[in-house]
Point group: C2
Chain length 401, copies 2
């Protein structure tokens, strides 16, 4: 048969890892801390029924919703992003520099189209988000990992790696990072923006969790400290509106947005219209404020339950992050426990049946890093089920020590 492109060979491993990570997690008897889903109770189903009832009319936005639309996305949604989502965070954005995408992840795909030739280096956090690495692999980038600590990416190590590897991009998830739940400090954000300018490197800031904060103080995006256009901000409506709508956006200087326009047009013409219009109307009709409040309340309760359950049921040797928001905590078990093996056991033992994502897959370097770590997502699990699942999993872990 016809030979696949070189990039497909390059992808094999990451695609395999992901299927391994997220596969077989839908058994109904199982309690899953696996995926990055939200509480389904927080999805605005009723509000969107009402809005769709209003707009799917020929004398309203019905034709617009079903017709071809602009490559860059509808204007009112881009304006809402600028005024309601970015300006309050200290990012002054022109709607003309914003492009609506089909989910936040599409930003990474398009940024690779724009910048990555085979062999180009992308610096990533260690650990980092596997689905982005899958994209970087497809574009035959070389991912080099930068050390992290509880304050996020280590900027000294970052500067050294920039000097050593001459990267095209630095990929960073600054707030409630996936998978660790860690947040990059203010000082480091400033420094990363400066390093982008100083060394002529794109800082690709992927910030989908920032608006689901349950405690602590807001920190402005890296983009707010960018003076040269080297930082590009990618964000998503998946956490604050709904993941199934696949709505994301990217903010970049005009010269970059013009190229993203071309790459987006050559990917899928434009993002579906109905989800864009529903989302714009959701904000314009003032639903976001109450929705956001309820969203944070539901997930704060689950974060708190997860923290309490870890304390209560996990061995005292375990360490974990206390995330001020987002959906994840990162748990490190004693070195002798291999979380990949543990997961198999957990899923096959009818007395346990608790899923999570094993840590190894989040490291691009291999070397067994993360082999004792696990990403625990608390978003989709009600508090009582969090306690139940963590008790079972804790018992299994303790039996190994």
């Amino acid at each position: 048969m016809v030979k696949f492109s070189n990039r497909m060979d390059n992808m094999k491993e990451s695609a395999g890892v992901i299927r391994g990570l997220f596969g077989a997690m839908t058994n109904p008897g199982m309690i899953s801390f696996g995926g990055g889903a939200l509480a389904k109770e927080s999805l605005p189903v009723d509000i969107l029924r009402e809005i769709s009832q209003d707009i799917l009319r020929t004398d309203s936005r019905g034709y617009e919703a079903l017709s071809y639309g602009p490559v860059e996305g509808i204007k009112d949604l881009r304006e809402i992003i600028a005024t309601e989502l970015l300006a309050p965070k200290g990012v002054q954005a022109d709607p003309g520099n914003i492009m609506i995408l089909t989910g936040g992840l599409e930003a990474m795909n398009l940024m690779c189209q724009l910048y990555i030739d085979p062999g180009d280096v992308i610096l990533v956090e260690s650990p980092t988000f596997v689905h982005s690495v899958e994209i970087f692999d497809m574009f035959q980038a070389k991912c080099v990992s930068v050390r992290m600590d509880d304050d996020g990416m280590d900027v000294e190590d970052l500067e050294e790696k920039i000097k050593a590897h001459n990267p095209k991009m630095v990929y960073v998830i600054p707030t409630f990072q996936n998978p660790t739940g860690r947040t990059l400090t203010l000082e480091r954000r400033k420094r990363i923006a400066e390093l982008g300018s100083k060394y002529d490197v794109i800082i690709l800031e992927d910030d989908p969790y920032r608006d689901i904060r349950y405690s602590g103080e807001e920190i402005p995006p890296i983009k707010s400290f960018d003076r040269t256009g080297h930082t590009v901000l990618a964000n998503s409506f998946s956490k604050i509106f709904s993941p199934g709508s696949r709505l994301g956006y990217i903010l970049a200087d005009k010269a970059i947005i013009d190229k993203i326009y071309d790459a987006k047009s050559a990917t899928n013409s434009h993002t579906p219209m109905l989800p864009q219009i529903l989302c714009a109307e959701f904000f314009k009709r003032g639903h976001y404020k109450d929705h956001h409040k309820q969203l944070c309340e539901i997930h704060r309760e689950r974060r708190d339950a997860m923290m309490e359950a870890l304390e209560k049921y996990f061995p005292k040797e375990a360490k974990w992050t206390y995330p001020d928001g987002g959906l994840f905590t990162w748990v490190e078990l004693p070195k002798e426990i291999n979380t990949t093996e543990l997961l198999k056991e957990s899923l096959s033992d009818p007395e346990v049946m608790v899923a999570y994502v094993a840590g190894e897959g989040f490291y691009t370097d291999g070397n067994g890093m993360g082999s004792n770590a696990m990403r625990m997502s608390f978003g989709a699990v009600p508090p009582e089920k969090i306690f139940e699942g963590m008790e079972k999993l804790g018992r299994l872990i303790k039996s190994k020590l």
Copy 2:
């Protein structure tokens, strides 16, 4: 600033051509035969309001519509494609070999991810669809054009070009082709499938117009003659449901679909859920039959009006295709008329103000081919406006002779 990837240099020209072709076509006083839009009266706005009212409920498909979904698309829509859209055309498809995409064009992007390394050859019809060429350019493919006549792609020339250029893919729009409106004959379809198998070349069959036929007899897709898995069928719901929903699909053998799964996951995770569910329910509730009938009636009337107006108002030296379906006719004017220049004049003359797409942009070879041709799209213009616009444009053309 950070250097763009090599593929972006490669894209410059095609992106420029497209902006030139489709830009500035939204002046309200203008009659536009430019874009490939449908009659807005044919969009199922009221039906989708009803369906969304039913499904956007927490006790119906509301959570599903707003949550993450499968990379390959929802199962009921893939089953509908297999049983209602493909089987009646002679294509026996397993829903497991179908992947839902964000618009039909995404199929070309993903197929390039799968197969195209820089410099690989793709054979295309001459003329061909500019937006697909834009994608091929982004992937640094070399497009080589194959002759066409009124029966579609010339299969003798195709075989010669396959031998001469060792292509990875042949890109063909067999039915009511964009831009010419021509339909590939049955014999040639069989032959193209055989050539794919014989020379180990992918036949990428892009067939979005096939179900809007107004006259003549249906011809099975190339895919129905494929015995080796070399033909991959891309199709779209843009013409039979709605373009703004951005729903397309691809049918390929399992080994290829598995790779498309990986590339789709690394492009935008999956296609938005609400449009998929609305489309599936539209078929399941039996709306398609009447909708399709009305869709064909509206566009048949416009096709007929365009044919009548060409006869009535265009100079006798002009030639054009009689399309049995789809949205386009391809008009060739006497050699001395340059349609790119004519378009500028038409748009700037307040007595004319009629838009179309000039022919040159649809040829990948340059050499001034198509400089006297024009793509006329009749889908979005009511019959009386077709007559009005064609009379004005005909008068302008005649004044040049």
